[in-house]
Symmetry: C2
Subunit: 290 residues, 2 copies
């Protein structure tokens, strides 16, 4: 099993910063180098001790790194993979934290074909509607699902290195293909975002005065960054359209049962939904304990 | 302004129990009598000191009460209003905590027509997906919206007594007609429930393994009681069908923009939703502070 000595993080926001804090908290690597576009973020990250060293230049930041983590938004990842690979040492592994994987992994593997730098896709599912290193937390990944992707091009040592790395930060790692990942997250993450955005968008401003905790939680993720999420949704289109169909079926069934005054059917739909959530909560608690 | 000395609570669950705890915490009435159907709940409520006295008989419980609060589910409220009124003293005021008001207020006023007991509808919007006096909290109503309804039959002193009562428990009281109430809650409470139930119901059990915080919050209210919620939804049908139409429009716009790869439109929809949620959060914080 491979252990990474130096880890470089490109894009030290909520996730990248939380990874840095977790590495240092758990001594999961010898050194964390943060690579920044803005000096203000660099200072904030150093102030929070999310990285040991902060640099503004990718070449300088990645040159000694054993593991390079791209913590930036989905649409920027392929270009950063190419740029990091150009300056990385032979044998270095690049991974990412992007919320869609087929799009990113296909591009990254094409870009790195024939290179001595390797790519393994990751998706630590521990986000929040918050952004920025100021919201980073060293325990953000603890007990959270983290999906690592395997393709026919994935090296065995690289895969085990990346999975061990995320496990060492407390994440609950699963390995699957990029396509399997994208299908799963379209249902449990992308669809909830679309639903929350639709709900917040649907309510007239005047009615918001009477909104309380139910509305607050149901729409929490509608405060997520619009550009970031547009790119996530657009890079997982076919799965999302399927997931949207499943939602529309249940939504239509409930609304139609209400319109027909079919109390028995309404109860049946609501009870089935409650049982699904019960399964989810039991798994979540099991994982958090494990 | 009228102040109530003895308050009887019929149905001491999450809301009824929280009202009892709040009355005692804030000395908002001299005595709280709980009226129970089950001895086990009576013992629990006394154990939590949510009531001063617990009885199993409505006649006995309401006979000296100045204010009678019906804390039971929507569908049971009209019958309990009739029963409480039969044994209440002249001039007593009955209110409720039901999530729909047109249905309840119309029936209650019809039942009490010509009687010397008066009804004023209330809806403290401070629920939770939890149930039972064991989840009751003395601060549940603090800073939460509480809608009190006024109709042509509502007595001025009764209305001011009921609004002052809720204010004395820390609620943020608004007075409106039952129809206005039902329209507002169809948007900010009933629609979010339908959406959350639909979402939890739509996701295949296998995918739940990868669900995380986003799914958890977006579906929280899908753990609400199915029978209770079926009755709420069915007694507010016409407003809910209108609210469901507003949701479907936004949902359709987002899904269609994704399917057309219309990034600009996706961003526009998501950003508009985020701004709505910002308005909501600002109002919520303003109210909590006030």
């Amino acid at each position: 099993m491979r252990r990474f000595k130096k880890v470089a993080i490109i894009g030290v926001g909520l996730i990248g910063g939380s990874i840095g804090l977790a590495i240092k908290k758990r001594k999961a690597a010898g050194k964390v180098i943060g690579i920044f576009r803005r000096r203000r973020t660099l200072r904030k990250a150093l102030g929070r001790k999310a990285v040991d060293i902060g640099v503004m230049d990718i070449a300088e930041g990645v040159k000694d790194a054993d593991l390079i983590i791209i913590g930036s938004p989905v649409s920027s990842i392929p270009a950063l993979v190419a740029r990091a690979a150009k300056f990385a040492k032979p044998g270095a592994v690049i991974t990412d934290v992007g919320s869609t994987k087929a799009y990113i992994v296909a591009r990254a593997e094409k870009l790195l074909g024939g290179s001595r730098v390797n790519f393994v896709g990751s998706h630590p599912m521990a986000g929040s509607e918050k952004t920025g290193v100021e919201s980073a937390r060293g325990d953000l990944l603890e007990g959270s699902p983290c999906i690592v992707t395997r393709t026919k091009n994935t090296g065995r040592a690289d895969l085990s290195g990346v999975t061990s790395f995320w496990r060492s930060l407390g994440a609950n790692v699963k390995v699957m293909s990029p396509a399997e990942h994208d299908e799963a997250v379209s249902l449990v993450s992308h669809l909830p975002h679309i639903v929350a955005f639709s709900l917040a968008g649907a309510v007239p401003p005047d009615a918001l005065e009477y909104a309380a905790e139910g509305f607050k939680d149901t729409t929490r993720v509608a405060s997520s960054d619009p550009e970031l999420w547009a790119d996530i949704l657009l890079t997982n289109k076919s799965n999302i359209l399927k997931a949207a169909g499943l939602f529309k079926k249940r939504y239509g069934a409930i609304v139609s049962a209400i319109s027909r005054d079919d109390r028995r059917r309404v109860i049946k739909e609501l009870a089935a939904a409650g049982r699904k959530r019960e399964i989810f909560l039991n798994r979540l608690h099991g994982n958090k304990k494990a």
